[in-house]
Subunit: 338 residues, 2 copies
DNA sequence: GATATTTATGCAAGCGCTTGCATTACGCCA
DNA sequence: TGGCGTAATGCAAGCGCTTGCATAAATATC
């Protein structure tokens, strides 16, 4: 038994395929009697039109792709991207699009997958978790060249033709640093995951500016780069320079807290902590971590809004949107006790 | 300027569309001179054939869908599903399929999305994160009825027609409990996230059996159900019954550890801990958490293997596969000190 | 009740690709 | 060089749907 087609339904309902199509797409008046019969058959059979045929004739698939360049390590420690995926999924559904997620593990994946992703008739547009670092710049380049409607979450490096939504890490870091200064901290350490990422550079800049604006000297020893695996060691080294606050990637909070417990540095009495991202983890640490939060809901909505706009009106000129971030005060920064 | 089609390429290369198609699909001998010209044009234009047209004529899209029923809370605390997604993505690429992830947030999503997912010509088959609890049983039912090739990760409840891959939670819990007993623990507490899930029921059964086999009395007060938000309180209550070990969902480890620190119960000297899942978190806790680990790599491979098999040979009879799990001994169970 | 107007329906083309079949070009051997 | 087998190529149909156009039916108008 072959799969049902429009034609089968038409025969069963005693009408022409066109009529069935029109019923399916609601472009037939409600008072038609044929309509009733078709509807009945449709319900009985549970018929769903063939997606490929539909896409072919309509020249669009009603599917949007979300590309996540993510070697295992990255994504597992970064639930934020998942939250983004959820928000975007929701936003797409509201606009009657389907959101399809694609994981890009290795570089070979990328070579293999990208050409397929940019085929017409597959997805109508692409949202990319862009430019975490220079490494995925070529990806954006290639996507951009493909002509596929595209928006990036995160500002692309060296590429000013791509529309993007990003968050203002510089201001956020500035504000967080200022907050710590207001609380009386003077030796504020900064841990970043890498200096290759735009985000880190912006945070560093915001941090520096806040210190300078207040006339607090910048101690280069208090600035450290730490990967996931050496967060513990890096923290220990940092402690030799007697910081009274640490500004850190939230995913490293557990390692940092462990060091502080081991060295009997009470948080926040002796040392204050602020995380760069508001992951679920921030609520589970002891004490709960004050963290910078991105307005994910709004970001997601604007990403898909922007993409749909580009799909309708073309990609020029590129759209840009910068979102402010918010400092969520919990206990690790000491402000609760003032 | 309209998008390029096979016909355009054919014209540019001075051949017929059929020839271009054959070059694209590598079913033309290598010594053809036309082939060279086509290849050249293809390279120059970066042409990619229209995916919808291809799917339509071939009656398959070379895309597999991974359906993730995941309200935000669930997925954010459960990176395991992401690991699965990565493994499956990889396995699909190796088999020349594209893996497309779909998040099912709300129930309304489900109503809206499922019909689209089961359309022919969209995906060729579906992998579902099945039956975490009764709640998504209807989902599996509907998918099953749609006739779409389907495999479930996790054993479906009340449904014996669906092929699945699952892990042997009962044996794993049995072994972990036995391990604790061997280490001299006698008052082993069990925290589960819910009693609605198959997984929890199996764990509970394995736990009970291990105790009975060793003649250790089962204390019902040592068995507790805790959600993410009341893990802390539940742990405190549990402590009133003086457990010397706790068997817990890994994602609750931080809360449990906090209670134990606050009550000065040293892990593992005073109390041993074992987590049900080996999340990245297990390595970051202090002390690192002994945990049960699923062979994700193998599971992922078999899920796609099974699905492709079903796509080729039909769904009957349903395939079933049960994987053993492994106890990863770290410091929280005390075995390191023996 | 006859005509004009609106609304529902059917016909057929076509979206961009693949592929069976018929045809042509090619290389080989005598 | 002619005849043969094989490989390369082109033609045209068709995958399942939508939609412009023409026609038929239903409704409104006088």
């Amino acid at each position: 038994m072959h799969d049902l087609t429009l034609e089968d339904i038409a025969r069963m309902a005693g009408v022409s395929p066109s009529t069935v199509s029109r019923v399916l797409n609601n472009l037939v008046g409600t008072r038609s009697k044929a309509r009733e019969r078709v509807l009945k058959v449709l319900a009985e059979t549970g018929f769903q039109p063939n997606a490929a045929a539909r896409s072919l004739v309509l020249q669009r698939s009603q599917v949007i792709g979300l590309l996540i360049p993510a070697p295992a390590s990255t994504i597992l420690h970064n639930p934020a991207v998942l939250q983004l995926a959820e928000v975007i999924t929701q936003a797409c559904h509201e606009r009657n699009y389907l959101l399809s997620l694609f994981l890009l593990g290795s570089d070979t994946d990328e070579q293999q997958i990208l050409p397929k992703m940019t085929r017409k008739g597959f997805v109508d547009g692409l949202i990319v978790r862009g430019a975490d670092d220079r490494a995925n710049d070529p990806l954006l380049h290639r996507l951009s060249e493909s002509g596929m409607p595209l928006v990036s979450f995160g500002r692309p490096i060296d590429l000013d033709t791509i529309s993007y939504v990003a968050t203002d890490n510089a201001t956020a870091a500035y504000n967080a640093t200022a907050h710590l200064l207001t609380l009386g901290r003077r030796r504020i350490a900064l841990m970043v995951g890498s200096l290759e990422t735009y985000a880190s550079q912006e945070r560093l800049a915001g941090y520096r500016k806040a210190l300078m604006d207040r006339g607090v000297p910048i101690a280069e020893q208090l600035i450290a780069v730490a990967g996931m695996s050496d967060a513990y060691g890096t923290t220990r080294r940092l402690l030799q320079h007697a910081p009274d606050a640490i500004f850190l990637p939230t995913r490293m909070a557990l390692d940092v807290l462990r060091v502080l417990r081991e060295t009997n540095l009470h948080v926040p009495d002796k040392i204050a902590l602020i995380g760069f991202e508001d992951l679920p983890l921030a609520l589970q640490t002891d004490p709960p971590l004050t963290a910078i939060s991105q307005p994910m809901e709004a970001i997601g909505r604007h990403l898909v809004g922007m993409l749909l706009d580009i799909m309708e009106n073309g990609a020029a000129p590129p759209r840009r949107l910068l979102f402010p971030q918010e400092l969520l005060i919990r206990q690790s920064c000491g402000a609760m006790y003032m």
